[in-house]
């Protein structure tokens, strides 16, 4: 909400109309209302924009995912509805809306109904603090990072609700898995970005993005991912984000080969669609978070590309991450529950803690220059790689490719 005029003075394209029109539009519309109501109208416009845009992104994403999975699997994907299957999301939506909503007789009706609603609500809440572009933050909080993860963690509760309320054994198992997964992966997820808060010195999203402004050697952006500890933290964050958003290879709560559809077994029709929507929203929100924390937010990757509006850069980065998620889904088999938790506790958490040390070292040696700069990089990379290799060896003990004999 705050204008924060100091931020966008530096960059070149910051003042262009293309860059500022969403804010101008909001302020102009809000200006028609009396002053006491302006904040409300402004918020409502932001909320509407988010729901509309990300609703559309969700629809496009379902199609994109199916298309890309199809391409991974040597088939064209949906291509019957409209040109190139572009109307497929609409057809899916109509199908979902018109399907009968079945609630098991012995289910807890209230919870069964509340679960998808709560899930979707929590997912949308996480969008509130993500900077989608320069000044395009719906809600400027000082502790935005904490808010984001608090809202994000609540989604798992909704999944547990769904599993519990369905009164189905498969759903119950899925609910238990979801809880275990939540507890295991919340920790590496949080630990992975502690170094960033440490170095940025702020919990505010815009503050973190500001810290990533500028260029090394004039063309390498000063994003956190381009530091050894930042890269390690990004990798940990990505793995944990996959697990948090129940994406393959961590989609254990709805492991279709084991638990039929897990917590979704007893859901049909539009409630089922809501679950899907929430899952994709979660994925988008976590990608947005990753972009903010590690990929310089809405900043352009090269100095001469700064004329392109910031929200488009955000969109491009988001698309890239989502494609990565889909690509991963198309490639990997699923982990087992105990392996999933072991990966979190015995690998990701220690690695994230080590990374904290690496970041501390990086922060303490910020004054090193010349040949010392090289030493700084060397030590930091070693601090990342050595624990990774050692912990990885411990994690994959007893698991190795085998040789076979022939009779």
């Amino acid at each position: 909400m705050n204008a924060m005029p100091g931020i966008f003075a530096a960059a070149t394209g910051a003042d262009s109309l293309l860059e500022r029109w969403p804010i101008l539009f909001r302020d102009t519309v809000a200006g028609f209302f009396p002053a006491p109501l302006q904040w409300l109208v402004g918020s409502l416009i932001s909320i509407l924009a988010i729901v509309a845009i990300f609703g559309g992104v969700f629809a496009a994403l379902t199609l994109l995912e199916r298309k890309m999975l199809g391409r991974v699997q040597n088939r064209p994907g949906p291509n019957r509805t409209g040109p190139f299957g572009l109307l497929q999301p609409i057809a899916d939506g109509i199908k979902m809306l018109t399907k009968e909503d079945i609630v098991p007789r012995s289910a807890d009706h209230l919870l069964h109904f509340l679960a998808p609603v709560a899930l979707l609500a929590f997912s949308i809440l996480t969008f509130a603090v993500i900077p989608f572009g320069r000044n395009l933050v719906p809600l400027e909080l000082d502790a935005a990072v904490l808010y984001f993860f608090a809202a994000g963690a609540a989604t798992e509760l909704a999944i547990f609700m769904a599993g519990w309320a369905s009164r189905n054994k498969f759903s119950l198992l899925a609910a238990m898995r979801a809880l275990a997964q939540l507890i295991s992966y919340e920790l590496p997820l949080l630990l992975s970005f502690v170094p960033i808060i440490m170095l940025a010195g702020t919990l505010s999203m815009t503050g973190i993005i500001d810290q990533q402004a500028g260029w090394n050697f004039g063309f390498i952006p000063k994003w956190y991912i381009f530091t050894p500890w930042g890269f390690a933290a990004f990798a940990i964050f990505l793995v944990a984000a996959l697990a948090e958003s129940n994406r393959s290879p961590f989609d254990l709560p709805e492991a279709e080969s084991e638990l039929i559809a897990g917590h979704l077994t007893e859901y049909s029709g539009f409630k089922y669609a809501l679950f899907f929507m929430a899952e994709y929203f979660g994925m988008i929100a976590l990608s947005g978070m990753a972009i903010t924390l590690f990929l310089g937010g809405w900043r352009a990757p090269l100095p001469f590309l700064e004329f392109i509006p910031s929200y488009l850069w955000f969109g491009a980065k988001l698309l890239g991450l989502l494609l990565l998620f889909i690509w991963i889904r198309g490639t990997f088999p699923r982990l087992r529950m105990d392996q999933l938790t072991r990966l979190a506790w015995k690998f990701l958490v220690p690695l994230a803690l080590f990374n904290l040390g690496t970041a501390a070292f990086w922060s303490l040696t910020s004054g090193w220059s010349g040949p010392l700069q090289l030493a700084r990089w060397g030590v930091a990379i070693a601090l990342v790689v050595v624990p990774f290799v050692l912990l990885g060896r411990g994690l994959s003990r007893g698991v190795a490719p085998r040789t076979y004999r022939f009779a």
Binding site: R71, V72, R75, P76, T331
Partner: protein, 258 residues
């Protein structure tokens, strides 16, 4: 190192994503109603009854209602009733014909056993597969009018096999004719010269197949009798396969070894 196998996997899938845009080997979908693959010649689906003539299918059915296929059919989907009267077959011989010949295609499993056991080359495998109907019972029970298809159709769907079958039939008929002629003449000097052709040309009779065509070829009888033709009795049903000059097994169809 942990993760190397995962990265390798990602590499393979990336190769496939990229390949699906330019390499037909990596985008193998045939979009069925618009595109169709060519059916192989040997493709089989549901039997049909061969009739010699397209204009009079019921009159020129090769089937003589011997009921061997009915007996051998594994799922018992064939139902035959013999006719009370007799009609002349393609060779002009009086034969029983099927008054009722039903195949329940909802039961039929297209196994081709009926084709193999038929001594008269009267039932063959079709190549239809777009046969979905909205009627579950009557539309799937085919009677002899629906089952009868002309020999020309058979040539169209299984050219190699049909040519071979026609050749075999021609040879059999010739052998039978010669035998009858020899018996009637009862003269040793005359019988020595007469013989049936072992390798008759099949295609001329392919579409005609009318009784007249056979009579015409008989008068042009030529080369040496194959040894197998000697024990042919006057009743074709039982012994005809044994007389088959084809190197292949009696009732096996398809491409015979040359």
């Amino acid at each position: 190192m942990l993760g190397s196998g995962l990265l390798q996997g990602l590499k393979v899938t990336a190769k496939n994503i990229a390949g699906s845009f330019h390499d037909p080997e990596r985008l193998v979908t045939v979009e069925y109603p618009e595109q169709k693959t060519k059916l192989p010649e040997n493709y089989r689906n549901f039997p049909f009854l061969v009739s010699e003539n397209a204009t009079d299918p019921m009159g020129t059915l090769r089937c003589v209602a011997c009921q061997i296929c009915e007996k051998e059919c594994p799922p018992q989907c064939i139902y035959i009733e013999k006719s009370k009267d007799k009609k002349p077959d393609a060779a002009g011989k009086m034969q029983v014909y099927p008054a009722v010949f039903d195949i329940d295609t909802s039961v039929c499993m297209s196994c081709q056993i009926c084709v193999e056991v038929c001594p008269f080359e009267a039932i063959k495998m079709d190549q239809v597969f777009e046969i979905a109907t909205t009627d579950r019972f009557n539309a799937l029970l085919l009677d002899r009018n629906q089952l009868a298809k002309p020999n020309s159709y058979y040539h169209q769907i299984h050219p190699t096999e049909a040519a071979e079958v026609d050749g075999r039939l021609l040879a059999e008929r010739k052998a039978a004719e010669e035998k009858a002629k020899a018996a009637a003449a009862a003269a040793a000097a005359k019988a020595a010269a007469a013989a049936a052709a072992p390798k008759p040309v099949a295609t001329p009779t392919a579409t005609a197949g009318a009784p007249g065509a056979v009579a015409a070829t008989v008068s042009v009888a030529k080369p040496a009798t194959p040894p197998a033709a000697a024990p042919v009795s006057a009743t074709p049903p039982a012994a005809a396969p044994a007389a088959s000059p084809a190197q292949n097994a009696p009732a096996s169809d398809g491409k015979a070894a040359p």
